[in-house]
């Protein structure tokens, strides 16, 4: 067998690669136009997430919290939620509040669904009935932020999407559940669909809320990020032609739409990373909508192939790569690393994604790949620092910067979080153009690290 699957050989986590559920849910709610996440828990549960998202996106991240204190642990969080909802609705008048639960609220047994229902009545009596309030159960101990994201998208669909009896709506419109992709990636997916003239709803769309233009004269108060998916859009997705979940961890919403509204779900494809992944994505869209695959996309594909032909054999062939991070991004990048002739020697995600080892095995073409399930950053570090493994490149988040400093092995940054370089959240790794960017980043790191010593090899 060419793929060796193993677990972490200790229980204690050293530098986790994932965080807990609530952050994923907050991420999804922040992709709603005029949406506010309300964390039903302690202040740290909101403030830490705000800190981490703010340093990655360099954007305001506005998240409310119901401020649990000792008394809440004794008396429950009903009063906290009640005051929070009133305060938010009266001051900010959002279109949607996603009530994100935490370990505390789940352990003390808050009936968030019941609380929300009774509050809706009260708010209605106060004359505020235009804010959707969606409970999202995300007990921190029951899964990673990927699971929390999935639960939030599903909760939004379950609570908002209505039956479209007349089957009205845009012809050939599709739904995309992007997962925890960066704004640059979501924009690239939109670009592909725009080129194909396919209308879409992104569930949910953080491409602008996490990447808002600076234009103080037009800045509304209270602050909401620009863009995001509107509540009305989500109401109307039941008549769309299909739902593509880019990631495997966020497919429950697509399945809900299929079961409840007969919207076909496409959930188990490779992500649109690299050539084959992007080919598959475009074919999926083509099959769902019958829209043509236009020359523009083939030109983009050709430009990426052109660069791959330039650099693959010349600089990259056989070089050993370690990849860690989001299970979908790692799967896609592993496939692409193989396409550019490099060798993925170890991959890990830190998440609970069950099909990850099989997905890697299916794409390996004789390479020996170590797949470590539920890894952490120390696993990555130990592997990279073991000289027998001959690692020449690391693909991962900024968290691996110390491994890079210690070993000098280049780190090509992708995913979340990237806080020690700029521009990474706004540029894509998906699609043909994203693939081209990945090849450029990898090649330039390889040239700087492995060729400058013999600089004459760089003359032509």
């Amino acid at each position: 067998m060419s793929v060796n699957v193993s677990g972490r050989d200790r229980q204690v986590i050293i530098n986790p690669l994932v965080t807990c559920m609530p952050m994923g849910a907050m991420w999804a709610v922040l992709g709603i136009n005029r949406g506010i996440p309300l964390v039903q828990g302690s202040q740290g549960c909101s403030t830490f997430v705000r800190y981490h998202l703010a340093r990655h996106f360099r954007e305001p991240i506005e998240i409310a919290v119901s401020s649990f204190h000792e008394s809440t642990a004794v008396f429950g969080g009903k009063k906290n939620l009640n005051i929070s909802l009133k305060t938010i609705v009266q001051r900010q008048n959002p279109d949607l509040i996603g009530v994100v639960t935490t370990c505390s609220s789940e352990i003390i047994g808050d009936d968030v669904y019941g609380f929300v229902e009774s509050n809706k009545e009260e708010l209605k009596d106060l004359g505020h009935d235009n804010t959707e309030i969606i409970p999202i159960n995300t007990p921190s101990f029951a899964g990673s932020h990927f699971v929390g994201y999935n639960k939030a998208v599903d909760a939004l669909i379950k609570n908002l999407t209505v039956i479209n009896e007349n089957n009205e709506g845009d012809d050939n419109k599709i739904n995309i559940i992007p997962g925890l992709l960066n704004p640059g990636d979501v924009n690239e997916i939109k670009h592909i669909l725009d080129v194909m003239h396919v209308p879409y709803t992104i569930l949910t769309d953080i491409s602008e809320t996490f990447n808002s233009p600076l234009n103080p004269k037009k800045q509304e108060h209270p602050y909401f990020g620009k863009g995001g998916t509107t509540v009305d859009e989500i109401r109307n997705i039941s008549a769309n032609k299909g739902t593509i979940s880019i990631t495997k961890y966020a497919k429950t919403g697509a399945e809900t739409l299929e079961q409840t509204h007969k919207v076909p779900a496409v959930t188990d494809n490779l992500p649109p990373i690299g050539i084959k992944g992007t080919d598959d994505f475009i074919m999926t869209v083509n099959k769902l909508t019958k829209h043509d695959i236009l020359d523009t996309l083939m030109t983009e594909r050709g430009l990426t192939l052109d660069l791959m032909a330039d650099v693959s054999a010349r600089y990259l062939a056989g070089r050993k790569v370690v990849i860690f991070g989001d299970p979908t991004l790692v799967t896609g990048l592993t496939s692409f690393i193989i396409e550019i002739g490099m060798e993925p020697v170890m991959v890990t995600t830190g998440s609970e994604e069950k099909t990850f080892p099989t997905d890697i095995e299916n794409m390996s073409k004789g390479q020996n790949i170590d797949v470590i399930t539920e890894g952490d950053l120390k696993v990555v570090e130990d592997y990279v620092k073991d000289k027998d493994n001959g690692v020449e490149l690391i693909l991962g988040s900024s968290e691996a910067r110390f491994i890079n400093y210690d070993t000098g092995i280049p780190l090509v940054r992708f995913g979340f979080p990237v806080y020690d370089r700029v521009g990474y959240h706004s540029q894509p790794i998906v699609g043909y153009r994203g693939a081209k960017r990945v090849v450029e980043m990898i090649t330039n790191e390889v040239l700087a690290k492995y060729y400058e010593e013999k600089h004459w090899k760089l003359q032509q």
């Binding site: 200790r10 229980q11 202040q43 649990f68 204190h69 000792e70 007990p139 602050y223």
Partner: protein, 465 residues
């Protein structure tokens, strides 16, 4: 009206007592109270105040968070707390910046919530010790989860201390404790005092031994002060807790004088040490040239090192004086808010006005107590707005109302401020620090100048002519 109710707060009128526009009445500001749920507070939790602020700075201890993965994830390497590997016994700790590079956690799952997490905690302690046998101690933080399920973290830590023959210290910091980070500071001060202070003896002592308490080495601040104090002949016996080794915390009782730098997060332990061991402490302030000189002189007098302190002042003040005067000319009259976590609002208000010519029009704190607000009130002019636990909507309204030239705040407020066209610098973690001492104050002046004068702020409008 001395108290101010923002338009955005009309539905939560209780906010009015937290916002005071200074007048001749010297009114009492409501503070250290529970936050109004849903008001978009900037506050954090006890774990942030404990592990984030204090124990996360210790360079040779394993930080182990007993929680679902999130609490560990969020407290990994976030504070700008560099450390050097030198230990007091002359040995070199095998990993530099160990406190920034590694965090450990028990990663509690559903079954642990049902059946308890104590077994997992024990295993985690043993495994962490096996991974890093060179670590001097293990600091265990409890969290909301482990507080609620009732894990007896104290008992486990006691048991494990014997088992691995190394201090395993429990810090009981469930996030819901208290109203803000401030509770976490207090819990951690108490735990360090109860569990560690007095348990070890320093390799040697001198009559010039001091403890630098409440200095966490943000972006290298501690190293600046340490340089001044060492050059004037003082010996830093312990740091609490920037760039500190575990052992230093255990022999704080041997200091001759304790200096308390961050008076919000660390006066507790200075009080406790004074009470039990009779060691006096002085509250010190090294932000800005004037405060720095005053405090160095005070220490010179205390230890009869007057000449030495004057030499240090001359040497380092001399290096920055002329440049600071230039910055003062450039910055005079610029309007600034200081939205700090704790005491920086009162540390910086007078220096920024007097030494850099800035006009402080608002000061705020997330978690100060009434003694801090007394200092804040005393150090601003009439008409200055003073806010307790400000929320982001109030900040927006203030910006729109009295557009300042610059805001000193945290990363959460910084990017919000940008959107309304106002530059902001991080005053909790700094931009290009250190900010303390003479050269630090020059760094701060440069950052203030560069931010206010960044050309981008003049390009906001698309001009058609």
């Amino acid at each position: 009206m001395p108290f101010k109710l923002f338009d955005i707060d009309k539905e939560i009128p209780e906010r009015k007592k937290h916002i005071y526009v200074k007048d001749e009445h010297n009114c009492e500001i409501d503070c250290n109270k529970s936050t109004i749920p849903g008001c978009m507070t900037e506050r954090g939790c006890a774990l942030a105040g404990g592990r984030g602020v204090i124990t996360g700075a210790v360079k040779d201890a394993i930080g182990l968070v007993h929680s679902p993965v999130g609490c560990q994830y969020y407290t990994t390497g976030v504070k700008r707390y560099p450390s050097q590997p030198q230990l007091p016994n002359g040995e070199i700790f095998p990993i530099d910046n160990f406190n920034l590079k590694y965090s450990f956690g028990t990663d509690l799952k559903e079954a642990n919530i049902v059946f308890g997490g104590m077994k997992k905690l024990k295993e985690a302690i043993i495994e962490a010790n096996k991974e890093c046998p060179f670590a001097s101690a293990i600091y265990v933080n409890s969290t909301c989860t482990t507080g609620l399920i009732g894990d007896d973290v104290d008992a486990i830590c006691k048991e494990m201390t014997e088992k691995i023959d190394k201090d395993v210290v429990a810090f009981n910091t469930p996030g819901f404790s208290g109203v803000s980070q401030s509770k976490g500071h207090h819990i951690t001060n108490d735990a360090v005092f109860d569990r560690l202070v007095g348990t070890k003896e320093p390799p040697n002592t001198t009559q010039y031994d001091i403890c630098l308490i409440g200095e966490y080495n943000i972006d290298g601040d501690l190293w600046v002060i340490e340089k001044y104090l060492t050059e004037m002949g003082l010996n830093i016996l312990s740091r609490f807790s920037g760039d500190a080794s575990h052992d230093e915390l255990c022999w704080m009782q041997r200091s001759k004088l304790n200096l308390v730098r961050c008076q919000r997060s660390a006066t507790y332990i200075a009080d406790l040490i004074e009470e039990k061991y009779g060691i006096p402490y002085k509250k010190v302030d090294f932000f800005s040239c004037e405060y720095c000189s005053d405090n160095l002189r005070m220490l010179g007098r205390h230890f009869s090192l007057e000449e030495e302190s004057e030499a240090v002042i001359e040497k380092y003040y001399g290096k920055v004086k002329e440049e600071l005067e230039w910055y003062k000319e450039q910055l005079t009259g610029k309007k600034v808010y200081i939205f700090s976590g704790g005491p920086k609002s009162w540390h910086l208000s007078i220096p920024l006005e007097k030494e850099l010519g800035l006009d402080i029009i608002a000061v705020a704190s997330q978690f100060e107590h009434s003694d801090g607000y007394d200092k804040m009130k005393a150090r601003v002019k009439e008409g200055t707005t003073i806010l307790d636990d400000p929320n982001s909507l109030e900040l927006e309204e203030m910006i729109l109302e009295s557009k300042p030239d610059l805001i000193l705040a945290g990363i959460k407020e910084k990017y919000l401020s940008y959107k309304y066209g106002v530059p902001a610098i991080q005053i909790h973690s700094y931009e290009n620090g250190p900010y303390i001492g003479y050269e630090g104050f020059l760094n701060l002046a440069k950052d203030i100048y560069n931010n206010i004068n960044a050309p981008v702020w003049k390009l906001m409008e698309f001009k058609t002519e």
